[in-house]
Symmetry: C2
Subunit: 637 residues, 2 copies
């Protein structure tokens, strides 16, 4: 964690100094705002936290509810989401608080006595296998609390405007705030009052029944299966020995997906309520909690649960729907989008694969920096076109996976030929439910794969997978990727060729070009801003850290920044194993020993892999999504 | 982290429900209180955080300063202190925020050119070697912030009474609140107002010039050496390559102890100002900061520092003083103590070994549970006699170590025969500066070593060194010791003999006895309180976790507690390696495969090691410091 950079900080360093619109931010919802976020779910709250890092952009978030969410529906947290929490600064706290999934067990009928269930297999959870982050279960309300804190502690000081309901919107062709949004206060003194807010951009994060989606006329298509599930969060006493282990239970009497929750006592159960008649007309949703508990006990036989408290329950029919496009622009209109959809507003599905909240957060992460860059004048408006293009296919992929998983989970025992196959499917697809399978195709912000062979372990279009390195300045073993906070900056990792610091090398030539008047740093950084304000450049030498003389490292990697012009010591790393680490990132990620440049987007996705010699290609690539700032003075940020 | 235990919790689970004196706690300092803490330094704040876990005890903390500490002097955090932070629930946050020491480097004169310094050796820091916790550097003010939060979030809801100064005290022989304390408001509307507060016990945590120490007439003896040091926290630019590594610099021009601080930029330097004349009369303390910086540059030659901001600076002469006894009772008086001293009030020394804050916190940890137990009626008043008996020798040991270390650090290069010897001393003594060398002798709360051979790795009288085990209920690899929060409870770890759960075994017989009417749980737990309210009993089986059938584990280890009578699943562990851990605590800690009982005090020190068969000895040992509660109704806690 870096601070004291603008002078000594006595208090909580996670609270950044207010800047720009964060200074004297109006408590009341103003008439005009750069960004209006509708809805405070995972997509909307992450978006607010991200935009709080762009204090020159004014952002408001309206939420119909009067205050914070008390009971959240979602609770499954993929490793990719924990990785995202790390970038927002609260991973270590939520990991300490959450249920960490170590195993998933599979139960089925006892062959000797098929009315009883028995444990069939134990499967180690993918979370611990696939990244340095665990697979968690924690109440969505707490995830939102942490993002709310990140939004409030960022320089933009963003807090949700609770008790304000979205009524409708109109996109005008003119003026600086072309989106007119009609809202109504639902709480407090002004309850019932209707107003019009004008925004440059609107993000509809307003859930499955999205009013924003309706207002822009997008089609949300799909269907609900004729199959119902009861879900309950319960405190019980039980003789079921796997109460604290995630289980899929496949009994003659039906199916349960059992998910222990944070805190050591609570668990969530998804209980199969069976097929629903065509003419049921959602009457199944009235199933009383006693009936759900009765079904649970029937399925768990010979075990029983004695429910002491029901924290929350619901009944739903599995639905799978996805919106055709995630913005307000027809493909051939030629204009740039003004309204975006994110989260459940554009993709809904069953909860049981633990996907929804996670994919929604990645929607917000994808959109946030793009809005921040365009509104800060760093990037061209065309960048916004990439949001729907990147996220809509991810949602479609999610729906397809979830449909398959839901079907597998809802089978009857006699439909299952191999009792191992659910476990096998679970593990074989681990990369998907971990959140790491998303791969964006080539675009203005994702380069082609011409040089992929130089860095096989950093697939272009997938998220940058961190690895341990040694920080040269202090010899600490650190995760290279964890230094990249969600601050909206592009990252360039320069993996050096064989010579060490101070020797002639391809790395040294590259660094010289990067720092030159013709290099992309000067070109894309506003005049007077810190050298690393837009692009954060790091170097990783192949040597042990003791063999890197920091006094001979190019100045590019030791910029003097902030009001005091202090040297930033934390951009220089060493790959070779040390007393505290046995890994070598070159070996682990298949990096060329001739050196390689890896460009990473603000949302942590690998954008380009290039040789150190490909300076023209790098300049061209960055120029696609970053404007020339050589005559633009720095703003407050 | 366990919660939802009293029903579903929606918000921050680290904020416990207010209870007892924490409900409607008066904002103003009342006339009477069970405990009055004087001073909000590390000892006092830890004590407040600990007593917040005893909400049936009323506790107030007065502090002369008007608000939180802004600039702290101390900054070195031993692994033992991080272990303590873990018990108070904030280790993961402070580790993320602090500077983690990986190396200590030693610099000396260049043999070719003795006016220049060169790096002589690198030494891996002991922190990472000696426990699972790192060695940190972080501002004392932040440590106090975290303890203040723990005090505020505990059921007792304790917040410091800032702006109240200690004037004096008198211990009366009678009445329920025998200590009369005279105080004066120093801030706010009541500034200047003097009052008398009556307390059952007073803890003087009021620093080196302790008024409480003076009031009870204790002798604080020792001396200051005739040697001065300048100390400064500075933001600089420099070509000194080890600016971010802890260093001892031993130049011809003098000595520097250089300690990087949290945040990536700031460092602290202790700069040798040389010998002080006998008749100096502390004039050296007026040395201006410019002179200190000039000396630093002289010592660092050929490197230089360009100071951009001085966050704090001071000049001090090394002093070593320790108080003869840490309470108000003469050895032969026969009465029990009413006033205690902790922290700098009873031991002062140089800052350079990074000891002071750490030893002070352990004073508070030692005293807190004892006051809590006596005032809650769990323990006899005689328990309070052990505080001074245990802590005074630790302080003496500290002074001795510090004197030796300071002398070594202040040597001239020509006094050093082997340039390695400072590094050697540093490593050889690692257990001491880590905070793990404290070993309390036999007493009412520390058993003799008759059965130590059954658990060589848990030395009686030293702190319980955690190890990884597998939690049976969910298969997670967890640290056995990290489940033990600073909640004032005794812990008993029952390491099982060879049979697994459900089989006849010494463990099963022991568990049966423990749960019986004659066992210590019934005896020492108030009527109606949770079975684990006073003594928290855990079991560790030798098998892999899959081979422990939780339905066959004795009920002792699965108590039903809280208002809902919910099963606590987190007291049953397995030692054998699993998918997630390669350790076996029996092998790592030299535990007898015949089983062994390890009793651990609320402040994490090993109190007794006994065979499973030694039930009478265990009952006798616990009976020394826990009262018979069989006719005492449970209080609110």
């Amino acid at each position: 964690m870096q601070f004291h950079h603008h002078g000594y900080v006595s208090g909580e360093p996670r609270v950044l100094e207010a800047a720009g619109t964060g200074i004297d931010r109006p408590a009341d919802l103003p008439d005009e705002t750069d960004v209006l976020i509708v809805g405070s779910g995972p997509a909307g709250m992450l978006l607010a936290a991200q935009l709080s890092q762009f204090p020159d952009v004014s952002t408001r978030l309206i939420e119909r509810r009067e205050g914070r969410l008390v009971l959240g529906q979602a609770d499954g947290i993929q490793p990719r989401s924990v990785e995202t929490f790390q970038a927002f600064g609260f991973a270590e706290r939520i990991v300490a608080e959450a249920y960490n999934i170590a195993y998933m067990n599979f139960w089925g009928p006892d062959p000797e006595n098929p009315g009883n269930i028995v444990r069939k297999t134990r499967t180690e959870d993918y979370g611990f296998k696939i990244s340095e982050f665990p697979h968690l279960i924690v109440n969505q309300a707490r995830v939102l609390d942490y993002f709310a804190e990140a939004a409030a502690h960022g320089p933009g000081r963003i807090a949700p405007d609770y008790g304000v309901e979205f009524l409708g919107l109109t996109v005008r062709d003119e003026g600086p705030y072309p989106v007119e949004v009609r809202v109504r206060h639902t709480a407090g003194d002004r309850s019932g009052e209707e107003r019009t807010i004008r925004a440059k951009y609107v993000a509809g994060c307003d859930g499955a029944r999205s009013g924003v989606r309706q207002a822009i006329g997008r089609t949300h298509s799909g269907a609900h299966a004729l199959h119902a599930w009861g879900v309950m969060d319960v405190l019980v006493n039980t003789d079921f020995p796997d109460w604290r282990i995630k289980c899929a239970i496949n009994a003659e009497a039906g199916n349960i997906l059992h998910i222990p929750r944070e805190g050591g006592y609570l668990s969530r159960m998804y209980i199969d309520l069976g097929a629903v008649a065509e003419d049921d007309d959602h009457r199944v949703r009235q199933t009383p909690i006693d009936e759900i508990i009765r079904r649970a006990n029937e399925i768990l036989h010979p075990y029983t649960i004695d429910v002491k408290q029901v924290a929350w329950h619901s009944v739903y029919e599995v639905g799978h729907r996805v919106t055709d496009k995630f913005d307000d622009v027809a493909d051939d209109s030629g204009r740039m989008p003004r309204v975006f959809l994110a989260g459940d507003a554009c993709h809904t599905h069953s909860a049981k694969a633990g996907q929804g909240m996670n994919v929604s957060m990645q929607d917000g992460f994808n959109l946030g920096w793009k809005l921040g860059h365009v509104l800060s004048g760093i990037a061209p408006e065309t960048l916004l076109d990439t949001y729907s293009a990147e996220r809509q296919p991810v949602a479609q992929q999610l729906i397809d996976f979830d449909r398959e998983w839901s079907t597998l989970m809802a089978r009857k025992p006699d439909e299952i030929s191999d009792p191992q196959d659910l476990a096998t499917y679970y593990l074989a697809t681990a990369e998907f439910p971990s959140g790491f399978m998303t791969q964006y195709g080539p675009s203005t912000i994702v380069a082609d794969a011409a040089h992929q062979a130089l860095a096989e372990g950093f697939p272009i279009g997938k998220r940058f997978k961190s690895a341990e390195v040694v920080r040269v300045c202090d010899g600490n073993a650190v995760h290279l990727g964890h230094h990249a906070k969600a601050d909206g900056r592009w990252r360039i990792y320069a993996f050096a060729d064989a010579p060490t610091a101070g020797e002639d090398s391809a790395l040294a030539s590259w660094a010289e070009w990067m720092s030159s008047d013709e290099g992309p740093l000067r070109r894309h950084t506003p005049v007077g801003a810190d050298a690393d304000a837009v692009i954060d450049v790091k170097v990783i030498y192949q040597q042990p850290f003791e063999d890197v003389d920091i006094n001979r490292v190019p100045g590019l990697f030791l910029p003097r920044t902030g009001p005091l012009g202090l040297t930033d010591w934390e951009k220089v790393y060493a790959a070779a194993p040390s007393a505290w680490t046995s890994d070598d990132v070159f070996a682990e990620r298949g990096l060329s020993r001739e050196g390689v440049v890896v460009v990473v987007r603000p949302d942590q996705y690998v954008a380009a892999v290039l040789p150190l010699s490909a300076t023209a290609e790098l300049a061209e690539f960055l120029g696609r999504s970053l404007l020339d700032q050589r005559s633009v003075p720095a703003a407050t940020a």
